[in-house]
C-alpha cells in the first residue's frame, strides 16, 4: 500500500478519518461501587463494524464497562450513546445491543432451538419468521442437528456457538462478548477465534470483546484498549500497541520486553544516545520527537528483535553487548534465552532454531559466551 493511499483510504481504519461519525460514544463515563472507582472518567469512540477489544487484568474495570454498555450497570457519571441515540438510562431490554456472557448463560430448561428463538419471541416476531431465522442461525453455527438438545447435553464448543447464535439472532447493532473463548481449550480457542473474525466480517456487526488474554486481543482486534485501574492506558491497533507502546506499563503488559533504564546523553537527528544506569553502556535508539539531555528514560526492546550470536558482530553494528547464557528454554520453533550482560542485567532473547538440533545439541547452551545486538530502529524510547 502506497503512502498516499494510507492517507486517504479510511475504510479499514475509520478512527483515523476526521470526518467519520463514531457509532458508539462514551463521554466521561465513571462507575463507583462505594468508594471504589471501577471505571474512572473514560472517553471512547467506537466506529461501525469495528472489532474493539477491551484488554486488562482482572479487576481493571473492563467487565464493568461492558456491563454499562449492555445496561446492567448505570454509570455514576457520564453519557453513553449508540448510533446517535442516548442510552445512559435505557433499560437493557430496550437497547439495540446483545451480549454473549462469559458463562454463556444458556437457559438450562430450554432446548437449543428455544434458547436461540427466545429473543425473537420476546419481540413478538411471527412464528413462521422465527422458525426461518432460527434455522438460518443454527445453520450458520452448524448446530442444525442439535436443535432439540438441552444445554447440558452439549460440549463446551457447542454451547459457545449456541450462545453466539442466541446473541446474534436479533441482529443487534452491537454485540458484546465477555471473555468469549475463555472456557474453551487451546486448540478450539484458536479455531474459534478465526470463526469469530469471519463471522464479524460477514455480518458487519460492531463487536466489543472483553478479554484478559493478550494473544486473543492481538488476533481479533481492529483496535485494542488496554485498561488498568479503571482507565485506558493506551488505545490503538494491535501493531501500534505492540510496536510503539506508550508507557512502560504497556510495554510490559503486552508481550514481554527488555527495559533499560538510563538518561539521555544527546540527540542527533532522530537518533538518541542513552547512557544506562547500570554498567558502562551507551545505546542508541530512534526517536522522532525532540528530547532534552539528561531526561530519565527507559529503552524497551522486544525479545525477538534482539540478535544473538556466538560470533563477533561485524564492525559498525549498533548496540552490541557481551554476555553469557544463564538459562535456555527450547520451544521447538524457537528458543528463549536469558542472557546476563555486563552490568548484571538479564535480557530475554528469542532465537529462531534454524537448524535441526540433534543429540540434544542446541545452537546455544548454558554458559555460552555470546554477543547480543539490536538496531536503533528496533527499540522504543519511553518517558513514562
Amino acid at each position: 500500500m502506497s503512502a498516499e493511499n494510507q492517507l486517504t483510504d479510511f475504510t479499514d481504519r475509520p478512527w483515523l478519518d476526521p470526518d467519520a461519525r463514531p457509532f458508539i460514544t462514551l463521554q466521561g463515563i465513571s462507575k463507583s461501587f462505594g468508594s471504589f472507582k471501577a471505571v474512572d472518567n473514560i472517553d471512547l469512540d467506537i466506529y461501525r463494524g469495528e472489532l474493539f477489544v477491551l484488554l486488562g487484568g482482572s479487576g481493571c474495570g473492563k467487565t464493568t464497562l461492558l456491563r454499562m454498555l449492555a445496561g446492567f450497570e448505570t454509570p455514576t457519571a457520564g453519557t453513553l450513546s449508540i448510533d446517535g441515540a442516548d442510552m445512559s438510562s435505557t433499560a437493557p431490554y430496550e437497547r439495540p445491543v446483545n451480549m454473549m456472557f462469559q458463562s454463556y448463560a444458556l437457559f438450562p430448561h430450554m432446548t437449543v432451538e428455544k434458547n436461540v428463538a427466545y429473543g425473537l419471541k420476546r419481540d413478538g416476531v411471527k412464528k413462521a419468521e422465527i422458525k426461518q431465522r432460527v434455522d438460518e442461525m443454527l445453520q450458520m453455527v452448524e448446530l442444525q442437528d442439535f436443535r432439540k438438545r438441552k444445554p447440558d447435553q452439549l460440549s463446551g464448543g457447542q454451547r459457545q456457538r449456541v450462545a453466539l447464535a442466541r446473541a446474534l439472532i436479533k441482529r443487534p447493532k452491537v454485540l458484546l462478548l465477555d471473555e468469549p473463548l475463555g472456557a474453551l481449550d487451546k486448540r478450539l480457542r484458536e479455531q474459534t477465534q478465526f470463526e469469530l473474525m469471519n463471522l464479524q466480517d460477514k455480518l458487519g456487526t460492531t463487536f466489543i470483546v472483553v478479554t484478559h488474554d493478550q494473544e486473543e486481543a492481538m488476533t481479533l482486534a481492529t483496535r485494542i484498549a488496554v485498561m488498568d485501574q479503571g482507565v485506558f492506558r493506551q488505545v490503538g491497533t494491535p501493531a501500534e500497541i505492540y510496536e510503539t507502546p506508550a508507557t512502560r506499563f504497556i510495554a510490559g503488559f503486552i508481550g514481554s520486553a527488555n527495559m533499560f533504564d538510563g538518561s539521555v546523553e544527546q540527540q542527533r537527528g532522530n537518533l538518541v544516545s542513552v547512557r544506562l544506569n547500570t554498567g558502562d553502556l551507551v545505546i542508541s535508539v530512534e526517536h522522532d520527537e525532540p528530547i532534552a539531555n539528561g531526561t530519565a528514560v527507559t529503552v524497551a526492546v522486544r525479545p525477538e528483535k534482539i540478535r544473538v550470536s556466538k560470533q563477533q558482530p561485524e564492525p559498525g553494528t549498533d548496540n552490541v553487548m557481551r554476555g553469557s547464557v544463564k538459562e535456555m528454554a527450547y520451544l521447538g520453533r524457537n528458543s528463549t534465552l536469558r542472557v546476563a550482560i555486563e552490568g548484571g542485567q538479564v535480557l530475554e532473547v528469542n532465537s529462531q532454531n534454524r537448524y535441526r538440533a540433534r543429540d540434544g545439541q542446541h545452537e546455544f547452551d548454558w554458559d555460552d559466551q555470546v554477543t547480543v545486538s539490536f538496531p536503533p530502529a528496533s527499540a522504543v524510547l519511553l518517558t513514562a
Binding site: 445496561g71 431490554y93 456472557f101 448463560a105 420476546r122
Partner: protein
C-alpha cells in the same frame, strides 16, 4: 482397616439403628396383636385395622389434616417464594439484614410460644373486628402458614443464592421485561425448590400438634390431635394400626422421592455422556 472391620464401629452402628428403629418396629408389631391389652401378645390379627377404617372420627380427622396441609403448603409456598425472591434479588434496602434475620425467627421460636401468640392474636382480632367468629380450619391453616412459610423462604433463598444471575440478565438482554423474566426464567429454575418447599410445608402441617391445639376450636380435630387425645384416655391397639398406616405412607413417599431423584441423576449422567461424544 481393609477386610477386618472394627468391632467397635459395628457395635456403634447396631446400637444407633436399634435406638432409632426398635420403637417403630414394636409399634408395627403390636398393631397386629389380637389382644386388647397392649403388653399381652394374643396372636396375629388385622382386626384393629378394620376398626380404624370403620371409625368415622379417624376419617374426619385425616381429611381435615390433609385439607389444612394442602392449603397451608400452597399458600406458604407462594408467600415463601415471594419473600425468598425479595431477600436475594432486591438491591439493599434499609433493614434488609433485620428482615433476613426475622424471617428465620419462626424456625427457632418454641412452638408453644408461636401457638400462644397466635391464639392471642385471634382473640384480639375477634374482639375488634368480629373475625374469626369461631376458631377452626381457617385459624389452624393461618397458624401453619406463618411458620411453614419461613421454611419455604429459606429453601428458596438458598437456591437463589447458588443460581446464576447471568441467566436472568441474558433474558433481559434479549428483550424480556423484568416481569417476563420472572415467569420465563426465574420461576422455572426455582421449581424444584418450590416443590421441595411445598412438600416440607405439607409434612410440617400434617405433623403439628402443639400449634394446632392452641388455635383450634370445637369440632376441628386434626389427626395428630386425635391420636394424642386417644392416647391420653389409655393406649388402645387401634392407634397402633393408625400409626402403622402413617409410617407406611411416609415410607412409600420417601422411596418414591428417592427413586425420582435417582432417575434424574441417571438421566443427567446420560446427557453428559451424550455431550462428550
Amino acid at each position: 482397616m481393609k477386610g477386618k472391620r472394627s468391632t467397635f464401629l459395628i457395635t456403634c452402628l447396631c446400637f444407633g439403628f436399634a435406638f432409632l428403629y426398635i420403637p417403630i418396629f414394636l409399634l408395627i408389631l403390636y398393631s397386629f396383636n389380637y389382644s386388647k391389652l397392649l403388653p399381652v401378645w394374643g396372636g396375629f390379627s388385622t382386626r384393629w385395622y378394620v376398626t380404624v377404617f370403620q371409625s368415622e372420627d379417624v376419617w374426619d380427622a385425616t381429611l381435615l389434616s390433609l385439607k389444612i396441609a394442602l392449603m397451608n403448603a400452597t399458600v406458604a409456598t407462594l408467600l415463601g417464594t415471594m419473600a425468598g425472591l425479595m431477600l436475594v434479588r432486591f438491591a439493599r434496602f434499609r433493614g434488609k439484614t433485620l428482615f433476613t434475620g426475622m424471617i428465620s425467627a419462626p424456625l427457632v421460636m418454641p412452638e408453644v410460644i408461636t401457638g400462644l401468640s397466635l391464639l392471642l392474636l385471634f382473640i384480639t382480632l375477634q374482639q375488634i373486628t368480629g373475625w374469626p367468629g369461631n376458631r377452626g380450619v381457617t385459624t389452624i391453616t393461618i397458624a401453619h402458614i406463618t411458620f411453614s412459610m419461613a421454611y419455604v423462604a429459606i429453601i428458596i433463598q438458598s437456591r437463589l443464592i447458588n443460581s446464576d444471575l447471568s441467566l436472568e440478565e441474558a433474558a433481559l438482554d434479549l428483550g424480556a421485561k423484568p416481569f417476563r423474566v420472572l415467569f420465563d426464567i426465574t420461576l422455572p429454575l426455582l421449581a424444584p425448590g418450590m416443590v421441595a418447599g411445598w412438600l416440607l410445608a405439607f409434612t410440617l402441617s400434617l405433623d403439628d400438634l402443639v400449634i394446632a391445639s392452641f388455635v383450634s376450636g370445637p369440632g376441628s380435630t386434626t389427626l395428630p390431635m386425635l391420636i394424642y387425645s386417644r392416647v391420653r384416655l389409655g393406649l388402645k391397639p387401634d392407634i397402633n394400626a393408625l400409626a402403622t398406616i402413617l409410617i407406611v405412607t411416609v415410607a412409600i413417599g420417601v422411596l418414591l422421592a428417592g427413586w425420582i431423584l435417582l432417575r434424574q441423576h441417571q438421566r443427567k449422567l446420560k446427557a453428559e455422556q451424550l455431550a462428550s461424544q
